[in-house]
């Protein structure tokens, strides 16, 4: 039986971060992962992360994954792949299936960072080929470069459903709709808004009734649901789709901690059954820790901090770190974690439907929650979205308190201020002069910033939008400007296309539209072919 000072289950963001912290303190660490590649789900995350610089905001998930792997390698962390941990015992022993054999290890400390599993819904036809998990769609298109289908229906409007829908568009698929049985969109408004403005419709208070097709999906039937989640007769709609993607939440993979006998609690705000942990992630069994989604469903950004904390605590427990050094490092990591855990979407506010105002006292957009875009009348409530400084200037359609501030760092001229609390809405400082560099547009993880010049010339306004699709248009190309709601507004001509390394594939497309559309044109559509 081989012995390690620290055994980590799972080489995702939490597990790798834990391994890195422990290895930095010279601990002997091994990480087991059942997959053939490390990184967990990070390599499927091609969007820019939220948070602030310390949380690697505006960096795409797969880049963060690469950084973690390099760091782990440099520190000599042993990562054993194709190794499924199938048993964890109170005495801190683990059984690992490797090459068809069961191998037995003992650890002085164990960190369980096994992640989460996708939830499913069942409906008529749900077993047909063509009904897939949202994670499967990400795996196919972002890891293997294969489209999951041509016409996709997304079931679920949480962040996973929204982010994957956008990724489907980027892969060249058509998203025929995003449905959710809830009355309100579950994920960030900015994620919904960037789908809606490309023309993706939302169907809230809708459930899936049937996946149609003989031996694979050829369509979907959806219907409205009432307050008791029952389908309303006569509201059935047929949608043409070859793929139905399910994104109805995640559940913590807490089987191992349960098996070891750690105390658990069912916490709906954390996504289900989770181990009861102290502030370091230590379970009721001393020396067994849980970090990341196992301990409660959150984002990869918070999983990484939880991993670091557990790694530090394990190092201290084995005498590799002095108590006072540990508590200083813990306080720092913990405050970084609490900065992420604020705002409308925090655990504390999860499921709340009574929020009507932002922290600043602005009226929340009801249309954003029910239709996926902020209506023209509602956007007027937000000063950052209606600035009328002469010349080119940013328009920030960020209307919910979410933990994110790259826009503030993006502007070298100090035009944008978020402040200490990263969930605050950005403010545009009228005294600072915008030079139109567009870094705020490119760095906004929510793609909610536009550069607008209402008086580009006598009759036109210019609008610069973030554009993460192919083909990239050429200067002079003509298209149709779309509104926030995805409605076709007017003809638009591309006057500039900018793409520099620092923008990391968020290209800037500037379009000219008649002046009257300066406040409403937010996307450009090109004829196919």
């Amino acid at each position: 039986m081989k012995r390690y000072e620290l055994i980590i289950v799972g080489a995702g963001p939490a597990g790798l971060s834990a391994a890195i912290e422990a290895a930095k303190r010279n601990m002997q660490v091994v990480v087991f992962d059942e997959n053939s590649r490390p990184g967990g789900q990070l390599f499927k995350q091609i969007h820019k992360f939220f948070g602030s610089k310390e949380h690697k905001a505006k960096t795409r998930g797969f880049i963060i994954g690469e950084e973690l792997l390099v760091q782990a390698k440099e520190l000599g962390v042993e990562v054993i792949l194709n190794a499924t941990v199938i048993g964890l015992y109170r005495e801190k022993e683990v059984c690992v299936m490797q090459d068809g054999q069961l191998v037995h290890y003992k650890g002085d400390n164990i960190i369980v960072a096994a992640g989460a599993a996708e939830n499913m819904v069942t409906f008529r036809g749900w077993t047909l080929p063509g009904v897939i998990g949202a994670g499967a769609a990400q795996t196919m298109m972002n890891l293997h470069g294969v489209k999951p289908g041509e016409r996709i229906l997304m079931v679920g409007s949480g962040n996973v459903g929204l982010v994957v829908s956008f990724q489907l568009l980027q892969a060249g698929c058509k998203v025929v709709g995003v449905i959710d049985a809830a009355k309100r969109i579950g994920g960030y408004g900015v994620h919904a808004a960037k789908l809606t403005r490309t023309g993706v419709p939302f169907y809230l208070s809708h459930t899936i009734v049937e996946a149609e097709g003989g031996d694979h999906v050829t369509g979907a039937v959806i219907a409205e649901v009432d307050d008791k989640w029952q389908t309303v007769p006569g509201t059935q709609k047929h949608l043409e789709a070859d793929t139905i993607c399910i994104a109805v939440g995640l559940s913590p993979m807490s089987q191992l901690v349960r098996m070891a006998g750690c105390e658990t609690a069912d916490d709906p705000r954390k996504g289900g059954l989770v181990p009861v942990c102290n502030e370091y992630g230590e379970t009721s069994i001393p020396g067994i820790f849980a970090a990341g989604d196992v301990a409660g469903i959150e984002e990869a950004s918070s999983a990484m901090i939880q991993g670091r904390i557990a790694g530090l605590a394990a190092a201290e427990r084995s005498g590799y770190l002095e108590e006072d050094e540990m508590s200083a490092l813990f306080l720092e990591a913990n405050s970084s974690l609490s900065r992420l855990r604020q705002g409308m979407f925090s655990h504390a506010n999860k499921g709340r439907t009574d929020l009507t105002e932002t922290d600043e006292g602005y009226r929340l957009s009801a249309s954003l929650l029910s239709r996926g875009y902020v209506e023209d009348s509602e956007i007027q409530e937000f000063p950052c979205a209606v600035s009328h400084t002469p010349g080119v200037h940013p328009v920030i359609e960020c209307t919910q308190n979410i933990p994110c501030n790259p826009c503030q760092d993006a502007c070298r001229f100090g035009c944008i201020r978020v402040g200490e609390t990263i969930t605050s809405l950005p403010q545009i400082r009228e005294d600072a002069k915008c030079v139109g560099c567009g870094m705020c547009v490119a760095n906004c993880s929510g793609q909610a910033i536009f550069l607008v010049d209402e008086d580009y010339d006598e009759s036109h306004a210019s609008i610069t939008i973030p554009y993460e699709f192919l083909p990239l248009p050429e200067k002079g190309a003509a298209g149709t400007a779309l509104s926030r709601s995805g409605d076709r507004l007017c003809r638009a001509v591309v006057s500039d296309v900018r793409s520099v390394k620092a923008m990391d594939h968020t290209n800037l497309v500037t379009m000219l539209v008649p002046k009257e559309f300066a406040g409403s044109a937010r996307f450009i559509e090109f004829e196919e072919g």
């Binding site: 997959n35 599993a117 077993t127 080929p129 795996t139 060249g172």
Partner: protein
């Protein structure tokens, strides 16, 4: 079904193109990619039929967890095609229940 160039990832690195067989038919796929991806790219969606109801099944989770996509690979049944790398000359068969041919 393959994404030629992706706006964020660019070109996805693949192994060399190799031949393999599906139910005796010649197919092509990239060496090292999951068998299921090569099939998906070729438009194949049905991996197996269930034993009692003879219902078709295909890719569902794509990460080796749900076992919906199992097929017979080189004579071995119940191989999770979504996590098994494609090799040149592999013989892949549609699975019926737990075997290769439909039960009478």
């Amino acid at each position: 079904m393959r994404i030629d160039t992706h706006p964020i990832i660019g070109r996805i690195e693949k192994g060399r193109m190799v031949e393999f067989e599906l139910d005796g038919m010649k197919m092509n796929g990239y060496e090292g990619e999951p068998i299921a991806m090569a099939l998906k790219a070729a438009g194949i969606q049905i991996h197996r039929y269930t034993s009692k109801q003879h219902e078709p099944r295909g890719i569902f989770c794509a990460i080796g967890r749900c076992t919906d996509c199992v097929m017979i690979v080189d004579g071995k049944p119940n191989i999770r095609t979504c996590v098994t790398p494609l090799k040149e000359g592999m013989k892949v068969q549609t699975q019926y229940g737990v075997s290769a041919k439909p039960e009478e």
